[in-house]
Symmetry: C2
Subunit: 478 residues, 2 copies
């Protein structure tokens, strides 16, 4: 086998060298490099060990918490220990919301605790809680139909998230709006508190939290998620005409904003260091699970991607910059601050890739750019690149969603890319206590490192800038 | 279609009548009757409505709790309202264990609450809790190997339950022993408390409780289950040599025994009322979920089985007796008391069938009798009977497990039978907060009613007594 390997290797190297012309396809130019990176990443990388430390020894890391500070300093230290360049913290001011004690007790028809999690950003209840009858609505229309019927009541938005299916994907986007705006619209109708069915299609009585906002609400009412099981029960009782009263207690409070930071580290480019490919995830996580899939996995994938390249001594023409954004979950402070701080060099950002959909088997990239022509060229180029990863599994590259933290960079210059993964189980764990390390398969995490490392390397090294084609559009590298 | 139906019907009736001889097979004798029962049960029955009331409006019903009293009186009332005969409560003294407040906090390497549930029967901790280092063992052998290493520590038994597979079934029986005896054997080694990995193969950070006992332990130490995720984390930290300390707080207490009752109701036989086919489930349930699958579903299946027969005016030769046993979960008081109270008539118990494996799609029966010849004849007869149910799905009948509550009736006379169901998901919910109504499919629940009603009817009506064959063994009905 060794002989054969050497022969193939030599032939591929020859192809690669011959291909170093404008006309050779990206795939032909980078086949050998991509395979080297994939082999190295799959054979050995420290992503799982890093994620293990982040989950087991740090864990909770919501904005403002000591856990987030610890995670930020640990990540910077780990990148320094790996020998990355220009490792630094870029300051970001973040909101500081704390959950405190909380509970939801059904009083009628029976006294029983319900499984709940307060929503991030909610105000507290009075210490004795808010006790009121529950009215159940499916959506905005049913709330409107109630007329004055929500006044003085606790409104439950019971809109089940559709289960994942291969055609429509996860149903998250179709029902998450009640979590975000439910309290505001219930308050407008005179409700005294708001409950939202957890945004998940599977539950073992496991509530899912998430961010909410009051917008221009005149009265801020407390808001909490209940498990799908409890939402179902409240809805059944209500449909049978059984009066339901509950007591919601929440100590949630918003404190003064705190200093936090984006964590940055680089593999500096060998010929065009001022041009940048950003890769990253967000270092903050909700205060209930350990943020293994959301988004510890994204962070360590990016950290390890440049580590694999450095160990291989594969330094691309351009710089690959790892950014671990802070405060994605309840403010997007890190993403906004990065775009602001780096406004002057955004034109030099070739691409920004975020992994924030979990660390299941990688499936490809969503591509997003203000300039539709560039987006379309980038998608074409990415399709050539992902063809090099089919040994890992089927891959796609198509215009679509990228990532929350890179959104503020959206412009004609920067191609935004979402690192996508198999998503059938992500929302089972997302924002819940169940987002723990055991849900991440080490082999799949390594596949993500392989794909992200190879992608970043090619984008940082290929002669054409992503989204441009020599001969078709100006190639703007020197 | 109506014409065809009538023709088939007439031909089956003819077969049934002609078959009323000793030589006709059970299947031939009861094909028409079985189909009538199945059609009626699948078309309409109140099992789901009953289960809904039991779960939503009563819920928790551990021995000694007001919920159990309420459930018992509700069940008797429901059977009376259905027109059942001899509806009564048969007194049983049951243990009274209360959970109280409880928590498990990891102190090192980070302060974070772990997902736990105290085990039923455990003693409390002091009010300030028990704080100690955690030592992790997989089994009895590893505990022994520790030597004096468990002294003063909290022992975690981390023995993962194997996932369900079609060949081996659920892995519950292979690891549940640590829940039962873990505290006793850890105490022998000087441990100060015992943690047990939840006995489930799937978890969303959802701990599973269950009964435990101290046996002849000199020192009773508190015992609690932790979620599989937390057990995994403690085991990983321990394996990496990271010192782990936790604080376990439990207010659990055992109070004076309380009066409870088995609930009994009958469809009295038309010619041999003194001969009895018992069907039932247990009315108590752990104090965390709503006992939908364990064992509300078994109770309402039995209640509704005789209700379907009564509505069809199908009164078999023998009596069908519904028994809803109390205190299965932490004492088996109901099952023991029933066998004692009815010792004089046990010889007249043709069969006792328990449904206590959940209310998923029915799959057949396990059969158990001290007399192996009778067990084997009963299995043969049951295979004929279940052939009538194949429109519902594949069915089996084989010697095997029956049910905990009918176990005390085990004898040469009584054929014990376990009503079995598809079991791939049962232990995901079992003894956890997730055992709620939404996990029960109304159509599958009706299938259980159909199979149990038809089985009970045939066993209570067929000329041969189950486990005997005319001409081969004495038929002992008059």
């Amino acid at each position: 086998m060794r002989t054969i390997t050497v022969v193939v290797w030599a032939s591929l190297v020859a192809t690669s060298q011959a291909a170093d012309t404008k006309k050779a396809s990206i795939a032909a130019q980078y086949a050998v490099d991509a395979q080297r990176i994939i082999d190295a990443a799959l054979a050995s990388n420290d992503a799982y060990a890093k994620l293990q430390h982040l989950c087991d020894e740090i864990g909770y890391r919501l904005s403002g918490s000591p856990g987030l500070d610890e995670a930020i300093h640990w990540a910077a230290g780990a990148m320094r220990a790996d020998g990355q360049e220009n490792v630094r913290l870029e300051p970001v001011t973040v909101p500081h919301w704390e959950r405190g004690s909380e509970s939801l007790m059904m009083n009628e028809p029976k006294r029983v605790p319900l499984a709940m999690l307060g929503l991030g950003g909610s105000v507290s209840t009075p210490p004795e809680g808010i006790t009121a009858e529950v009215v159940v609505v499916a959506d905005e229309g049913e709330l409107d139909t109630l007329g004055d019927g929500a006044r003085g009541k606790i409104v439950l938005f019971n809109n089940p998230m559709p289960p994942y299916d291969p055609t429509h994907g996860a149903g998250y986007g179709r029902t998450v709006r009640f979590r975000g705006k439910g309290a505001r619209i219930a308050s407008e109708k005179g409700a005294v508190a708001c409950l939202v069915r957890s945004v998940t299609a599977r539950s073992y009585r496991s509530p899912h939290t998430g961010g909410m906002g009051y917008g221009d609400a005149k009265v801020k009412i407390p808001a909490a998620a209940v498990s799908t099981e409890d939402a179902d029960m409240l809805a059944r009782l209500s449909a049978r005409g059984v009066p339901v009263t509950v007591t919601l207690k929440m100590e949630a409070r918003t404190l003064d904003p705190k200093q936090s930071a984006n964590v940055v580290g680089e593999l500096v480019g060998r010929t065009n260091p001022e041009e940048i490919v950003v890769i990253g995830g967000h270092i903050d996580a909700w205060d209930v699970g350990h943020g293994a899939h959301d988004d510890g996995g994204g962070c360590v994938t990016a950290m390890e991607a440049i580590n694999v390249l450095r160990r291989l001594n594969m330094i691309p023409r351009r710089t690959i910059r790892v950014v671990l954004w802070t405060n994605e979950e309840n403010g997007l402070g890190g993403g906004k601050q990065y775009a602001k701080d780096h406004a002057d060099e955004l034109a030099n950002h070739v691409a920004a890739i975020e992994s924030d959909s979990g660390s299941f088997r990688p499936t490809g990239y969503g591509i997003d750019c203000v300039d539709e022509t560039r987006e379309s060229i980038a998608a074409e180029q990415m399709r050539e690149i992902i063809d090099l990863f089919t040994s890992i599994g089927p891959m796609h590259a198509r215009p679509g969603h990228s990532g929350a933290d890179i959104g503020p960079m959206k412009s004609a210059e920067v191609i935004l890319m979402g690192h996508e993964v198999e998503e059938s189980r992500y929302f089972d764990y997302h924002h819940s206590r169940a987002d723990t390390l055991d849900k991440v398969d080490p082999a799949e995490l390594s596949q993500n490192v392989a794909v992200m490392a190879a992608t970043a390397y090619i984008l940082a090294d290929m002669p054409d800038r992503l989204g441009t084609r020599s001969g078709r559009q100006q190639y703007n590298a020197p």
